[in-house]
Symmetry: C2
Subunit: 170 residues, 2 copies
């Protein structure tokens, strides 16, 4: 499906609404869908609601924003490919490299077209596919928090089993 | 320092207060310091505030509770050893193995005495030491979310540098 600029604006509004209505804690964290340039999704959050004992951004909030940046990117990818699927996160690793001292943004970039094509092919064929996505939070030109998440998409018509959550899913 | 039961109750109240006052988002997540048996710290959170689009616990909230269980355990360890130090998380990996469908608890267990002795020795000698801690959230007898975090403690009198945050710290 070819997405126009207006479609994209409407998709981003839908993503914001999905986060706000279906994951209510994102409202308390002040998470905003900032933008998507067709390759990279940016989510932001204010320092004030997410501050820790050292007056820098709390690790749990940084990880949450990064997790949602990947989740949101995959949500957009599925919409762009006109696929109705559920997305869950299976595993993630996050490195807290530098303190974050101001309002912060997590950016998640699309993987290359070959990876996306293989993911889409597996998902349509097997009803289930996994995708590794990288997100990061930068401050003053340096990566402050780096994140890698493995997400699983499950076609809606598929009956879920507990194994969908397991580490060996693909 | 030998900790009495009354000291421990007062420490747990202090930990709850630290979380509530200094990391305000923990109030929105409904995080409670449930107990500590001298080896294992348990934190809890209600499903209601932490629900996601599938009516199970949101991954960001699970990760946050697990991160804080490790942070809290190290906070208690330092108090027990009468050490004034700051704690930051450096890296973590989390596996979401099963959905969490009710109020949930994260448990973090102390490492063995040899690991703790080596950690304390490094911290007192170098002013900085790292510790890997494992936490988990169980449901119906099975591990639903597994977490490993690498934390760094920094003695208060030490001047912090950006390298304290880097991946090569110890």
């Amino acid at each position: 499906m070819r997405i126009t600029d207006d479609d994209m604006k409407s998709l981003l509004r839908a993503l914001q609404q999905t986060l706000s209505l279906e994951i209510p804690i994102t409202e308390h964290l002040g998470i905003t869908v900032e933008g998507y340039d067709g390759e990279c999704l940016t989510l932001t959050a204010p320092l004030e609601q997410n501050v820790n004992h050292k007056k820098t951004a709390f690790g749990g909030s940084l990880n949450t924003l990064l997790t949602l940046a990947g989740w949101g990117l995959l949500w957009l990818l599925l919409k762009e490919h006109d696929i109705e699927a559920e997305i869950v996160i299976q595993e993630s690793i996050v490195s807290y490299l530098l303190p974050v001292t101001r309002d912060f943004s997590a950016r998640c970039r699309q993987p290359g077209p070959t990876v996306i094509a293989a993911f889409e092919n597996t998902l349509r064929k097997k009803g289930k596919a996994r995708l590794e996505l990288y997100s990061e939070i930068c401050e003053a030109g340096a990566v402050a928090t780096a994140f890698k998440g493995r997400y699983v998409a499950l076609l809606h018509q598929r009956v879920h089993t507990e194994q969908d959550w397991g580490k060996n899913s693909q």
